[in-house]
Every structure is written in C-alpha cells, then in structure tokens.
Symmetry: C2
Subunit: 105 residues, 2 copies
DNA sequence: ATACTATTTCTACAATATTCGAAATATGCG
DNA sequence: CGCATATTTCGAATATTGTAGAAATAGTAT
C-alpha cells in the first residue's frame, strides 16, 4: 500500500462519526447493513451519514450493493487487513537490536 | 481503547506528512531519532515539523526524551499495538457465520 | 556573558472538513 | 402513472487543519 493511500484511509477512520459508522459495519460482518439501519442506530441526519459513507467508499474501506430500494454497506476486510499490515510493517528496520515490536503483526 | 482516542490517533496518522514522520520513527525503532535528523531526512520546515510532532505526542503515538541539546523522538509501539488491536477487535460480532476476517488480528 | 545550535511558539492565511436542511433522484408497488 | 420509501446531492454556515516565516526559548560550551 502506498503511503498516501494509507494516510487517506487513516484519515477516513480518524473522524469519530466515521469511525463509529465503520465499526458498526465491521461488527455487522459480511452480512452488511443498509444505510437506513445505520441511520437508526447512530442517529445521524441522513445527509451527514451519506456524506461520511461516501468518504469511506472513496478510500475502499467499505463497499455498497443495492438490494432493491436499500443500499447494503459492507466493511471491506481486505482493505483493513492491508492497512493494519502497513502500520506494523517495516518496524525497526533500521534498529539492529530490535527484538519484539514486530510481533504486533 | 475508547473510540474517541482511537479516532484521534487515526486522525493523527491520517495526514501524509505526519504519517511519514511516524513511519520514519517506526523504522528507527527503539533507538529513536532527533527532531533535527527528521528534518534533514524529510525536508520539512522546522516549524511545520514541530507542529506535527506535537500532534503525534498529544495522542501518545510518539514520545520525546531530551538528550543534551537535541530531542530524541521514539515511536510508542504499545500505542500502535493498541490501535491495531482496536481496529481488528469486534470483527463480525453480529455475524453468526463469520469465519475468518478475525485472523487479521 | 556571549555565541552557537536545536527546537518551539507566535502569527497569519489559505484550504479543507463537518454539519445538516431542503430539494432532487432512484426503486418498487399498485 | 402516481405514490411511498430510501438515499443522495446541493448549498451554505461554521470550524478546523496544514503550512511556514519570524521571533523566542533552551541547552551547552567558551
């Protein structure tokens, strides 16, 4: 993952409202959750919610599938995994006597 | 980790300049790196660098120790680990047939 | 004290983000 | 078609962030 992509994803997760949206979707797992259900649970005005969802979509952290009249949102677990890998990668590569921080991976 | 703390840390890492600073420190490992060395490597004006370092300090992602006339910066690996754990935690807790995304942890 | 290096604080400005109501669009149904 | 529901786009106000030059502070040595 390029550093600018990683930064964009981290920034997307760095807003409390968006992080709550994302976490709710992560908890929902592969089943996903419609936008409307997210709105009920999080009590966010529809336009605000839509705006944040768009940000998460733009960086590939979530995806959407239309299911009739509703839009199902899913967390993109591969993207999350890639981001986590990026964070723990290259740990201590310049530190000869580094022993264990890399176990975070 | 509370969600607002996680968001604050993710936001701190969500700026490309700050992420570069952080990664450089992660690579430097436990040995750390003085502010001045960071400035040389990243070619960032001192005031801008100082500003970003303060952000990373504020959320506990890095720490500083004075070493004579220079300030040594270190990545706080425990904080990073906590953040990574937060990201992969509670994956699919509402999805009965979730099978593997949690292996990201 | 003076000088020198390292780093931060001050200050200001442009750019971007967040929020949300109102209006617009999309889908499905009778 | 016409209506109901789901969701997005528009528009605009307000707040926050990123950037960096100039000035200030901190530490060390002479």
């Amino acid at each position: 993952m390029k550093i600018d992509d990683a930064a964009a994803r981290l920034e997307a997760l760095g807003n409390p409202t968006r992080l709550k949206i994302y976490r709710t979707l992560v908890r929902a797992g592969h089943a996903g959750l419609p936008v409307g259900r997210l709105q009920e649970r999080l009590k966010i005005p529809a336009s605000t919610l839509s705006h944040h969802i768009k940000s998460l979509l733009a960086v590939g952290l979530i995806s959407q599938v239309r299911e009739g009249t509703t839009l199902l949102c899913h967390a993109e677990f591969d993207t999350m995994r890639g981001l986590v890998d990026f964070l723990v990668a290259e740990c201590c590569t310049e530190d000869a006597q580094c022993q264990g921080a890399r176990t975070a991976a």
